[in-house]
């Protein structure tokens, strides 16, 4: 029952869409499709794809478990210096990922500030393991989740939380049953950003976790190696990564999202 969409909004929206999609179309057009089936069914690619999906999903779970509470703390508590904390949380975004990887090595590496004790006391060594990939991806992707969820929390009406409190709900119950469901669209948006960023993560991963096929070689690393040997194959690999992620996102999001409109 609403009027036609206004040109002043639709025009930039369409330009924006074209800006994002035309380059992808370019990739699709120029890709050497003939090599696709061979790539798709090669063992290494299968392994890398599987590893990518698993690691990105695990990293996303880590981010959700740690990041959503962090977002809540930033949005709802009255900590002093929240402004600075909030800015600090965005820092891994700005850090070139390779430097992020170096930072992780400095802290969690075998000679790292924390890592040396992990190694000495528990025999745990994170770099160059699949767990390391998950950590590196989580480090890079978490700020996306935190900032999206915090934005959603700030836009949510806190009076519903008050209503829950008067019903005897602790902050935790209120958070779980009232706050979280009401900011679900924001959490979903953040999760998508986080997962996608983790899936595409390269610099921190190769620096912190290395590039061991089957263990730490995710798709972006495979793309990097393919660029060394066969640039066309690299593009095909990227497209595979794209298609899989589009399929996953298109499949999942509409299931999760049941908001207004």
């Amino acid at each position: 029952m609403r009027s036609r969409l206004p040109v002043v909004l639709v025009l930039p929206a369409v330009v924006g869409l074209a800006f994002l999609l035309v380059p992808l179309a370019g990739l699709l057009i120029k890709a050497p499709w003939a090599t696709l089936p061979a790539q798709l069914f090669s063992q290494e690619v299968g392994q890398a794809l599987q590893l990518s999906l698993i690691c990105a999903s695990l990293a996303t779970i880590v981010c959700l478990v740690l990041g959503v509470p962090l977002a809540w703390l930033l949005a709802r508590s009255d900590l002093p210096g929240r402004g600075v904390l909030r800015a600090l949380v965005t820092v891994p975004l700005v850090l070139p990922p390779v430097v992020g990887g170096v930072a992780l090595l400095l802290v969690l590496g075998r000679r790292g500030v924390v890592g040396q004790y992990l190694d000495q006391w528990f025999g745990i060594s994170l770099p160059f393991t699949t767990a390391g990939v998950v950590l590196a991806e989580a480090f890079v992707a978490m700020p996306f989740l935190v900032i999206s969820v915090e934005g959603a929390l700030r836009a949510a009406d806190p009076r519903f939380e008050e209503a829950a409190a008067t019903l005897g709900a602790s902050r935790w119950l209120t958070f779980r049953r009232v706050t979280l469901p009401s900011v679900m669209p924001g959490v979903v948006a953040g999760t998508v950003l986080c997962w996608a960023r983790a899936l595409g993560e390269f610099g921190a991963t190769i620096t912190f976790a290395g590039n061991f096929p089957g263990k730490t070689t995710t798709m972006p690393l495979a793309v990097y190696l393919a660029l060394e040997t066969d640039p066309d194959a690299a593009i095909v690999l990227s497209i595979v990564l794209l298609l899989v992620s589009v399929a996953v996102l298109a499949g999942l999001r509409d299931k999760w999202i049941s908001g207004p409109s």
Binding site: L105, G109, R110, I206, G210, N211, E228, P231
Partner: protein, 232 residues
């Protein structure tokens, strides 16, 4: 602990420069075939990243670097105590897009302002080498971009974004038929060495030494030569 005795028979980990990907994968397979019971796994990345990782205690047996500078970063910290050996050399070539649309004939064309030229940045080996070459040829190039690695340069050449670039011959060879290489005389004034060495605390020192030897052997040289490297 960091120096457990090898328990998994002959398994070693080789940290190798990304430009060695193809040849070392082949060498690894041949080495495994020649020494049953051994297994070689690789960690391919930029030499500087590998050096960082090694200095942070990465569990590796062998380091093959694309530049002596990165090797030096590792020997400086004592992570490698053995003297590195040069196992391959690489020289520069002029790379042009298929069909040479810029009509590049020699190094002198790099000074033309109207052509699009890509070079490596001075900080990376191919850039340092290019600087030496231009100094030797007394040419002041007018680059449009100083790329951070050879692959980035080659991407631009193969897409026709630049008319000419200066890269290693091995890279031209790997780039396939979209890129054509032209040799030039001054190339000999800047040759890049690839050093290799086993790590001081290699978990599997014996196999590590065997692998280094295999790379330096005649069989190794043949594989490397096929990829465009010249022998040391």
């Amino acid at each position: 602990g960091t120096t457990q005795p090898s328990t998994s028979g002959g398994e070693i980990t080789v940290f190798a420069a990304a430009s060695l990907t193809e040849s070392f994968q082949q060498l690894g397979e041949e080495f495994e075939a020649a020494n049953p019971g051994t297994k070689v796994s690789f960690n391919f990345a930029g030499s500087s990243a590998l050096a960082q990782q090694l200095n942070q205690g990465a569990p590796a047996d062998v380091f093959a670097s694309a530049a002596p500078a990165n090797m030096k970063q590792v020997t400086d910290t004592g992570t490698i105590t053995a003297t590195p050996t040069t196992f391959a050399k690489n020289t520069l070539q002029i790379a042009v897009p298929k069909g040479n649309p810029g009509k590049i004939t020699g190094l002198a064309d790099f000074a033309k302002g109207d052509l699009k030229i890509a070079l490596c940045a001075e900080q990376v080996p191919c850039g340092a080498a290019a600087k030496k070459v231009f100094a030797a040829a007394k040419i002041t190039p007018s680059p449009d971009t100083l790329e951070q690695d050879v692959k980035a340069v080659l991407t631009k050449v193969s897409l026709g974004e630049v008319d000419a670039a200066l890269v290693y011959r091995t890279d031209v060879q790997a780039a396939g038929d979209k890129v054509e290489g032209e040799d030039f005389a001054e190339a000999s004034s800047a040759v890049n060495d690839y050093p290799i060495a086993p790590l001081a605390k290699a978990p599997n020192a014996a196999t590590a030494k065997a692998f280094v030897d295999y790379v330096l052997s005649e069989k190794g040289k043949k594989v490397l030569a096929a990829a465009g490297f010249t022998a040391p």
